[in-house]
Symmetry: C2
Subunit: 459 residues, 2 copies
């Protein structure tokens, strides 16, 4: 039986696969640092080489305006069989602050069953696993149960700025029937999950301007408007004291949670105490009539990310500031549209700009539609079956308050809803010092991708 063959092969290759992962992590492919561009490209080359040695002979670099894509496909199952696209990314977050790492971020080390190093879990370990599963299958059987395309990008950690243009340009080559993202998390080492929705995002800055330059607050206080106070008043006009966004039209396109949605959400264990311990907040807070988890997973938000105005040093300084700035993000849920929400915000700011000040709303780069997988979607259900087989438990059906713009980018280009199928865990210091990946998760990920391809072929 073929399954036994490739599984046995994976067993035998455990040490070699781990060596491959350590090799991969050694490349400091930090996409946010312009001086590391050659390293990101080196990682792309490494991925192409690894795909080729797995038997994906056409693996190649595809260029964007910046960091390249590593692409490869195996279409040997023929047009009568489904095509599965597997997504991941080989760029990593900056490793700073370096002094908080136990061992250097790009000199990976295995300790207590964990691989420590920048990118170990986000996303090098996760994205390498499906390549190794395919390697095992091709080496043992000479073929795969379905057609497979690999799409690995090098700019996920900087918001994938070139990917919308890229997927549009290569839409033909990206055509597929299902997409699985190897960039994703499981609930816990002993509990799988399926993420069924992600929030969309808009990011913007509000700038209020008053006098030409900072003025003496004694000589001019009471004479002219204060932009810092004006900003406070303007922001306060956007949200009620009990946490409801008060911008006209903000909730218009929010699809109300059904009773079924609410019970699905309530089914996933949650308790205030652990949540508060995790964040250090003293109490939960937000829109009335929703549970904390409903707000986190399924309600839109408006958050101030930063405030800047006037004197920020120690002690006091008697200035009436020339300007005040607030950076904000909104997280959106289906069917809210980023453009429409930003328009509503612009209209609100124009209408509520305090007297004596002028206001500007400036868009920042984060931008993405909400994403949700239709209930019962085939790739999600196949993933659910594989997860249940591996963990011996049904996956939780969860949502994420965060935003992964490539999910909607791929959906727009291919018409296919991606299913998150990654094996990281939230405690693995993603984006932080001492990032690690569990070796057992690595083994499980390889096995999961093998089983997934088999199950797709039988669907």
């Amino acid at each position: 039986m073929t399954t036994d063959n490739w599984r046995t092969y994976l067993q035998a290759r455990q040490d070699a696969d781990l060596e491959d992962l350590l090799d991969f992590i050694r490349i400091p492919s930090v996409s946010a640092r312009p001086d590391h561009m050659p390293e990101v490209r080196r990682a792309a080359d490494w991925v192409v080489h690894r795909m080729r040695s797995a038997g994906i002979n056409n693996a190649e670099i595809l260029e964007t305006d910046a960091h390249p894509v590593a692409f490869g496909s195996w279409m040997g199952a023929g047009p009568g069989n489904p095509t599965v696209m597997i997504y991941g990314h080989f760029d990593v977050q900056p490793a700073e602050p370096l002094d908080l790492w136990t061992t250097p971020p790009f000199e990976p080390e295995v300790r207590d069953g964990r691989v420590y190093g920048r990118g170990a879990t986000d996303d090098k370990g996760n994205m390498l696993a499906p390549i190794l599963a395919v390697d095992a299958m091709l080496k043992t059987t000479g073929s795969l149960p379905v057609n497979v395309k690999f799409l690995f990008e090098g700019q996920e950690e900087i918001g994938s700025p070139d990917m919308p243009e890229f997927v549009e340009r290569y839409a033909d080559r990206l055509a597929c029937d299902m997409i699985f993202s190897a960039d994703g998390l499981q609930w816990a080492p002993d509990q799988p999950q399926l993420v069924e929705a992600l929030k969309g995002i808009i990011a913007f800055e509000i700038i209020l301007r008053g006098p030409r330059s900072d003025q003496h607050s004694g000589l001019h206080g009471g004479g002219i408007a204060n932009p810092a106070m004006g900003l406070a008043q303007l922001l306060a006009s956007m949200k009620s004291l009990d946490g409801v966004v008060t911008i006209d039209g903000f909730y218009n396109d929010v699809i109300a949670l059904t009773g079924n949605d609410r019970s699905e959400i309530a089914r996933v264990p949650y308790d205030d105490e652990s949540y508060l311990a995790e964040t250090g907040a003293t109490e939960t807070f937000g829109e009335p009539n929703y549970s904390t988890r409903e707000r986190l997973w399924a309600r839109p938000t408006l958050d101030v990310n930063g405030l800047t105005s006037g004197w920020q040093g120690d002690g006091g300084k008697t200035v009436l500031p020339a300007e005040a700035r607030a950076k904000l993000t909104c997280r959106l849920v289906a069917a809210q549209q980023p453009g429409k929400i930003l328009d509503a915000i612009r209209a609100h700011v124009e209408k509520n700009c305090p007297a004596g000040l002028s206001a500007e709303v400036r868009r920042n780069s984060s931008w993405g539609d909400p994403f949700s997988v239709p209930r019962g979607h085939v790739s999600t259900e196949i993933a659910a079956e594989v997860l249940e087989e591996i963990y011996g438990k049904k996956p939780y059906r969860t949502r994420l308050g965060g935003s992964i713009s490539v999910m909607t980018t791929l959906q727009k280009a291919t018409g296919v809803h991606a299913t998150m199928f990654g094996f990281a865990h939230a405690d693995e210091n993603l984006h932080a010092p001492d990032e690690f990946y569990r070796v057992e998760a690595f083994e499980r990920a390889k096995l999961a991708y093998g089983l997934l391809l088999e199950r797709v072929s039988k669907a």
Copy 2:
């Protein structure tokens, strides 16, 4: 006639007096810089020496916990005659940014009838003038028309932190009948003024705290309260959109402006256009039912001086900040009390602290009672007569939105209301590069102090 004698003497000494001023400016007595402490002391020594050579034989250094005081008295007019105290300061603001000076700040130069150098107008030129007037009188007549005490401090530019304790300790030696402050401004080179009121001040910081550290705004937005939004809401609760402070009790002790007060204020020329051109604001703004000048001069204020929270760099960052801070000052008018107002603010913050956050109110160093000279106060009326004699015009009766805490410090210690009697002008780059003092103002100041002492003796 004695007047002619000392005036002739001053005429003859013009060049020598100017050389003295240049010499004085050459000492970089920057009180804000700990490494300049010896220079501040050198300036104190210089002042003591100059008083002695003027005939104030008992002139001496009096210590505080930091920068010293230069004190001297001439009591030769006897106990039957009034004692006049003259105040000034020999410390200066830091000179930075140095590259914006046309000539080095501590290498003074006379150009076009102006003395350029740090401290030229604030306050070395102004405080030297009464010493030189006394010098001229003592040199020509051997006596003064009244008893005189000189109190020159070396820490005005850092808020006179040791002076309250100092004036309390030396209350006996500071006893006097009138106080004139040689630290002050005239309206214009051809228009005198008498400043009849200064605002008091309190400075404080409001800190709102939420989660332990900055959180991901996607993963936690909607789950817990956002300190930056909470701060906006709290600040907005402190002031109405039309500029009225909404803190309970804030206006309780404000003495309403009388019809007479309002017409005095209206008598001083003012136009919106020049005021807006000066500040660069597009319109004036503040409490309804008061003119702009009434608000600037005679109404209390609450101004945000600075805002700090979360991400302040370029672009966006999706954080839900751990804390948000606002620095504020209130300017107070008679009979508001700093302690009572701060208590009202603490009570307001406690009552209005947004849900899910904790608030702290922290006092900053600026602190002072409002100061106003009773209408018809004898030293102010004498000053008015001297100014009218010199300028050929009645002085404007003005107020200042700023705060000079030493005025109330001296009042508390001696029971005497000080009258501002200085000859700087607002355009002379006080606290800025290319600070200068008009040579004609220097001459006028010496003359004015001579006439003032004569007139006090006849009052």
